[in-house]
């Protein structure tokens, strides 16, 4: 039997059989779904607790003008400011909104409460008061507010993407999220699985089994077998995650929709978009938009490119990790060699999250998605936005060329490094190893 295949088998099964692998495989999607479910739950239910606002309006401008919202109840009171404050503490009420008589001059509207009010609540109240005040001033100036209401324009931009198949909805938000998640997963997994390769190499070196093994196989076979075996572990994990997540999401989705209130709410929103606009419950509609937008993303295409770029990036970086592992005697010594490997990853990730998502077609984004060391992350951010086929193919071929090159370089260092014990290695030393002839 082919020896490289044997090595791949061992590397693969010795990891997949581990309890930690099973744990990770089931725990991660469960946590992910649980998180997702909680977010949706909060979107739909909102903040259940209704906050009571006691409004002490000495000016009288706002009395009965503020509208109750889902979680805000306005109650208008009379009396003195100090009494109201005492009452608030005594009755354990929520908030006291105090509007002095000459509030405009003094600019002294206060919200008094025991606990700090949330930003949203303050914002809500502020918005309403501004509206009331605006209307009042317009009326005073003799302008009919109904005309203004009619003239009020509401613009909603629908992003559409033109392809040969026709137009389709392009939701920027969903694209952003998908690109972000894919790039993040690649970023994390390159580290996780690259480090596993490095640890494996160091383990073989410190247990000294390396000498037994390289007397049976070529160092290159061992390195390749290890890289491929661990890569397959990564792929298995991703596939299981995708399957499990999809399964759990379906189950969770059905359960969520079965709760009548939320179902009714969503139905209502779908049927009454106008009402939506007038009374936008921002959070619920955001969720709705997102789940609709998610439908516009081409998941098979994204997952396909994701797996390719994960594998390509993994092969490039794991070969380098293997070379680092071969050069040291234990993990603490790896520090000095890790920087040049992790730097391009971290750099691309930061640039990607801040720049590429906003400018997916800029020159910098283009070049970053071409260079093999940065393309796995950079391209995954761009892919959901749509990338011309020639760019994708070029980037992919460069990636393949890149990993062949790094594997070649790493193998030359590896074959010498694994047999070197007890010496502290420098870059100069590694360069020397590279130059050794077979």
């Amino acid at each position: 039997m082919n020896k490289t295949l044997l090595i791949i088998q061992r590397e693969y099964f010795s990891r997949v059989k581990k309890k930690s692998f099973l744990l990770m495989t089931f725990l991660v999607p469960t946590l992910f779904i649980a998180m997702y479910a909680v977010v949706i739950f909060i979107f739909i239910k909102g903040d259940d607790k209704v906050k009571e606002f006691r409004v002490l309006d000495e000016s009288g401008v706002f009395v009965n003008k503020l509208q109750d919202k889902k979680n805000i109840d306005f109650k208008y009171i009379n009396g003195s400011y100090s009494d109201a404050k005492k009452e608030l503490i005594a009755s354990e009420g929520d908030f006291l909104l105090y509007i002095p008589k000459n509030y405009e001059a003094k600019n002294q509207i206060e919200i008094v409460s025991e606990k700090k009010p949330g930003l949203n609540i303050v914002g809500d109240v502020q918005d309403q008061m501004e509206n009331v005040l605006q209307n009042k001033r317009l009326l005073e100036a003799g302008i009919d507010t109904s005309i203004i209401n009619q003239a009020k324009a509401k613009v909603i931009i629908q992003a559409k993407q033109i392809t040969e198949d026709g137009e389709k909805d392009a939701s920027v938000g969903a694209t952003f999220v998908v690109g972000f998640v894919a790039a993040f997963l690649i970023y994390i997994s390159l580290f996780i699985y690259g480090t596993q390769v490095m640890r494996g190499v160091i383990e073989e070196k410190t247990t000294r089994i390396i000498e037994v093994i390289v007397s049976s196989v070529k160092p290159f076979q061992l390195m390749l077998g290890k890289i491929l075996g661990i890569g397959m572990v990564g792929l298995t994990q991703f596939l299981l995650w995708i399957i499990l997540s999809a399964g759990l999401a379906t189950v969770a989705g059905t359960i969520m929709l079965k709760t009548d209130s939320s179902k009714a709410k969503i139905e209502q929103m779908k049927n009454n978009p106008d009402q939506n606009l007038q009374q936008p419950d921002a959070r619920t509609s955001a969720f709705l938009n997102f789940s609709e937008a998610a439908d516009t993303v081409d998941f098979p295409y994204i997952i396909g490119t994701f797996l390719f770029y994960f594998l390509g990036g993994y092969l490039i970086y794991s070969a380098l990790f293997a070379a680092v592992g071969s050069a040291v005697d234990n993990e603490t010594e790896t520090q000095q060699f890790m920087l040049p490997i992790t730097l391009p990853l971290i750099f691309t990730f930061i640039i990607g999250m801040n720049f590429i998502v906003n400018n997916p077609d800029s020159n910098l984004s283009f070049w970053l998605s071409m260079i093999p060391f940065t393309s796995p992350i950079a391209m995954m951010i761009r892919v959901p936005f749509g990338v011309p086929l020639w760019q994708l193919l070029l980037s992919m071929s460069l990636l393949i060329g890149g990993f062949i090159f790094t594997t070649w370089v790493a193998a030359r260092i590896y074959r010498v490094g694994i047999l070197m014990y007890g010496k502290k290695t420098s870059y100069k030393e590694i360069a020397k190893w590279f130059m050794y002839k077979e």
Partner: protein, 302 residues
């Protein structure tokens, strides 16, 4: 069987092997001796095709060394090592298969050896659960499980307790009788002196001596004997015509004298001369140990 010709191996800053040539006969037990850092491990790595020589060549049974020979060589490295978290049985299977055995064949062989070495119950255990001596046994089985024709053992007895060392020695001799050629590499020369038919001494990248143990020793004999005796009338003194006293000492009972016999005389002449004078209890020839020979050679070189 193994023919090493003019091997040179150069590392960046030093030459590990300089024009080393060694012949190992089929079915022999060969000792590759020399102090630490002499170049033994470098040579062994070259034979195992772990590294390649800069020049020179190695032939096995007349055939130039190539990857097909891997399955014919069993190698026990000086630095022992196994996967700590892998089950012993799986580990043995893996290593045997890497040497080119089929799975079923390997399983059968491993079971045979485990039974022979009384370690059947270890199959499901992990290396980290075994004592050092037990690990050594496992490693030994891993070295020979694929029935190699050539077995190379680097410092084979380090780490073994006397009982296990005895077991391993017995197994090695049995394998040798069945036709395997054995190479011992060690810096503790006395430990393999009795086992080896042939040796090569390596010092500072050079081979300084090789040949049959007996003939090497014979060539370093110099007619020196140690005589234990009782005497009431003083000590033995030199008689320039027959022998020269080199060393004298008093034992718990009686005395001992080391004499160098003159070139044209033998022990009989010495005894004839001494018998009337003293009561002799023991006569031994002083044969230099390989270690002595080595030291003698090295100092001569310096």
């Amino acid at each position: 069987m193994l023919s090493i010709k003019n091997i040179v191996k150069q590392y960046a800053n030093h030459r590990a092997l300089d024009d080393v040539s060694i012949e190992v006969e089929q079915g022999s037990i060969f000792g590759l001796l020399g102090p630490n850092g002499a170049g033994k491990t470098s040579l062994i790595r070259i034979i195992n095709q772990i590294t390649a020589p800069d020049s020179g060549e190695i032939r096995i049974n007349g055939e130039k060394l190539n990857p097909s020979h891997i399955s014919q060589i069993g190698y026990l490295p000086e630095e022992r090592g196994l996967y700590k978290k892998m089950e012993i049985g799986d580990q043995m299977l893996y290593l045997a298969q890497l040497k080119g055995m089929s799975k079923s064949e390997a399983t059968k062989k491993i079971k045979y050896w485990f039974e022979k070495m009384e370690m059947q119950s270890w199959w499901k255990k992990k290396v980290e659960d075994l004592s050092k001596g037990m690990q050594q046994k496992v490693q030994f089985v891993a070295t020979i499980v694929h029935d190699p024709q050539l077995i190379i053992l680097d410092e084979p007895f380090s780490g073994f307790d006397p009982v296990n060392a005895e077991i391993i020695t017995r197994e090695i001799l049995e394998l040798n009788q069945k036709g395997a050629t054995i190479i011992f590499s060690t810096h503790r020369m006395e430990s393999v002196e009795q086992l080896c038919d042939n040796i090569a001494l390596i010092h500072k990248s050079h081979k300084i001596l090789d040949g049959k143990v007996k003939s090497i020793k014979n060539s370093y004999r110099n007619n020196t004997f140690r005589i234990d005796y009782f005497s009431d009338h003083g000590v033995i003194e030199s008689n320039p015509e027959i022998f020269q006293v080199i060393n004298e000492k008093t034992l718990e009972e009686g005395k001992q004298v080391t004499v160098k016999i003159a070139d044209d005389k033998n022990t009989n002449d010495v005894l004839q001369y001494l018998l009337p004078k003293v009561r002799i209890t023991q006569v031994n020839e002083v044969i230099p140990s390989i270690n002595d020979i080595f030291i003698q050679n090295v100092t001569a070189l310096n």
